[in-house]
Amino acid sequence: MSDVITVRAHQFDDLEQQHEASWIGMWIFLATEVMFFGGMFTGYAFYRAAYPQAFAAASNRLDVWLGAINTAVLISSSFTMALAVHGAETGRRKALIRFLLLTIVLGAVFLGIKFFEYHSKFEEHLVPGHSFQFEGLLARPAEIFFSFYFAMTGMHALHMVIGIGLLAVMVVKARRGRFSTGYFTPVELTGLYWHFVDIVWIFLFPLLYLVGRHL
């Protein structure tokens, strides 16, 4: 019982109230994230309707296989995250730590592939700005497509980095035995965040990589 008492913050009456407050707080935070990304999705929808051909042509310059592999990597990481939460739920600390680490590794793989993609776009002069080069009449709206590509995937990558940081904190806390079957809210909430970042990518992948593609 003693560990149960120490994790309750003074402003709450009991652990249940604390747990529910944390859950609502996290879901509200995710709602703010939806609005944050929503601004960019709105802009994307507007310009894609305005410049459909340019968006298709520009989308064809992205590497659909790297995007697909990254999608698979990220979905797998959501699976390992779910297993980590399950490990915490059933009180298996080793499984918890193992799956948290695996999630971190998959997240890092995603960012590595993303970095490689950014690098090749830089070499192909597809980064918006003075060095941007794109053949044909659609060059200017294509630059808008790549502006969205870098803004949206960049914001997503930033969220991944933050997520990996949170996972690392969870690993440290789990190692120190801070979680029990009665208290593992931080692991659950980190999981929620991680799944959210995953879902953002599930929308980004088709919107950016699969426009007007004829495989």
Partner: protein, 543 residues
């Protein structure tokens, strides 16, 4: 003597560390109070220079470029660093946990973090000011802000982006707290309307601010890395920026006015000694304003090249938002009817609020009318309208609230006669400053120019004279409130005989607000009953 040695949140410990690392919502409210007061006078300084320049028709005090920077820094400072955080972060922070019988907000550390985020954002903006300022207007319209302006746009935008997260975290904290931390028996329809108003405000904080954050981030990325999302040269559409910007910034007006309305509801009930008329209507009007407020942003863009059909819809929706606002005004006046009204300083501010808010709200309907709006777009009519809401409404409510809860926050009474005088000066000075601007705008004087045709001078001199009276009205409370910290009369628990739960604990309150968790058996504003019949303090001491 004994009462003075009692331990409370102010004397429980001393030193800079105990304040900068506090997680007590009441101390964090003080951190915010000091910070927003500082920003208020910074913004007021810019306003002073603007009004000085406009004393004469020719541009003689500052050059046109400097004038652009003055009104930009005035707007940025006042909107993002004073008006938006003022009531929620100061009074909301201090009062919400006490009004609902809680020991603190749900996330005290997050609350402190949000203050630090606010300060970091503020430092960015002050740095931009010190480095030479920004000249885009507080609206940062593209492509001027993204391509052409040579001033410190990026630094300012970063400051506002960062500060936005302070709003988001405050709103999140309030929503969770109001949902999960209410005392036993305190059902939703027993909550004070102040709490309802902050709940509605928090919804806007949480759903609106992220959109402003990403919009300003895209402007920043365009400036720094050459992205081209709003750049017309690359096929980008500046009107898209306006849509995204006003999607937040119109609801932001309701962030400023809703908490003020919450305060007015408390004060009207207390100083009329009556239950508020139509409680549920006033409560739902707050939510209605928050929700409809998200659907009216296009009325800022009637002349921006938005489609006529969109203009019609936005015009209609803007008319709709007047309904919940009018419900509040009618219910406040109905509350006064046959009440035993007393005219203490907070009440004077509330009555002033009702007057100027009515003028500000009705002129809002003028502006929502498509034909009239085209006539007065970008004139002083618009300036006068939103100052009636934001200065007349929001600031008067804020000052009324500060006076009303000052005894609770400090344990001291402010000097009443002086405070009534200040309230009167604020009311007169405010109207003298801004009413002539309605006329100026209607006659066609455009905003954002440092020079104007000579025939507008009389009205401009009236406005500047009013501004100096208003300044006296703002400095006066600063002086006597600080004076009262040491020399004010000891207030006691409930100097107003009010019925809110926050008055059922000592002034200043103990760190944990209440010695035992209260049980509530009556709805708010039960002025016909004694507090002992409403609130029951059990024997169970909490940890």
């Amino acid at each position: 003597m004994n009462a003075q040695r009692r331990e409370h949140y102010l004397n429980v410990n001393y030193g800079v560390r105990s304040w900068l690392l506090t997680t007590d919502h009441k101390r964090i409210a003080w951190l915010y109070l000091v910070s927003v007061t500082f920003f208020f006078f910074v913004g007021g300084f810019f306003a002073t220079l603007i009004r000085l320049e406009l004393l004469t028709p020719q541009g003689d005090l500052v050059q046109a470029e400097t004038y652009n920077k003055l009104f930009t820094m005035h707007g940025v400072t006042m909107v993002f660093f004073f008006l938006i955080p003022s009531i929620p972060a100061v009074l909301g922070n201090f009062l919400i946990p006490m009004m609902i019988g809680a020991r603190d907000l749900a996330f005290p550390k997050l609350n402190l973090a949000s203050w630090y985020i606010f300060i970091i954002g503020g430092l960015f903006t002050l740095a931009a000011t010190a480095a030479g300022g920004v000249d885009t207007g507080w609206t940062f319209y593209t492509p001027y802000s993204s391509i052409y302006s040579n001033t410190h746009v990026a630094l300012t935008v970063v400051g506002i982006f960062v500060t936005g997260f302070s709003s988001i975290l405050t709103g999140l904290n309030f929503i969770v707290t109001i949902h999960k931390m209410r005392a036993p028996g305190l059902t939703w329809f027993r909550l004070p309307l102040f709490v309802w108003a902050h709940y509605a405000t928090s919804i806007i904080f949480v759903l609106g601010t992220p959109v402003l954050a990403i919009t300003l981030a895209l402007v920043g990325l365009e400036r720094i890395f050459g992205l081209g999302i709003f750049d017309p040269a690359r096929g980008g559409d500046p009107v898209l920026f306006q849509h995204l910007f006003w999607f937040y910034s119109h609801p932001a007006v309701y962030i400023m006015i809703l908490p003020s309305m919450g305060i007015v509801s408390e004060l009207i009930a207390c100083f009329s000694r009556k239950r508020i008329f139509g409680y549920a209507f006033v409560a739902f009007a707050s939510l209605g304003i928050a929700i409809i407020g998200f659907l009216v942003w296009g009325h800022h863009m009637f002349v921006s090249g938005q489609s006529v059909h969109a203009g019609l819809v936005f015009s209609l929706l803007s008319f709709l938002v007047a309904i919940p606002s009018a419900i509040k005004v009618f219910n406040w006046t109905a509350t006064l009817y046959k009440g035993s009204v007393s005219y203490d300083a907070p009440m004077l501010y509330s009555l002033g609020f009702i007057g100027v808010f009515t003028i500000g709200g009705l002129t809002g309907l003028f502006l929502a009318t498509l034909g009239f709006d085209v006539h007065v777009t970008d004139t002083y009519f618009v300036v006068a309208h939103f100052h009636y809401i934001m200065v007349g409404g929001a600031v008067m409510g804020y000052l009324g609230g500060i006076h009303f809860w000052w005894p609770k926050m400090t344990g001291r009474l402010y000097p009443e006669i002086l405070a009534r005088l200040a309230a009167l000066i604020v009311f007169l000075g405010f109207n003298l400053t801004f009413f002539p601007q309605f006329v100026l705008g209607f006659l066609g004087m455009p905003r954002r120019y440092h020079a104007y045709p000579p025939e507008f001078q009389v009205l401009n001199v009236m406005s500047s004279a009013g501004a100096s009276i208003l300044a006296v009205g703002y400095v006066l409370p600063l002086v006597y409130l600080i004076w009262s910290l040491r020399y004010g009369a000891v207030a006691g628990r409930n100097p107003w005989g009010a019925r809110g739960l926050e008055w059922e604990t000592d002034s200043p309150p103990p760190t944990h607000n209440f010695d035992t968790t209260p049980r509530v058996t009556e709805s708010a504003y039960a002025y016909e009953k004694e507090p002992e019949e409403i609130y029951h303090f059990g024997a169970t001491a909490h940890v």
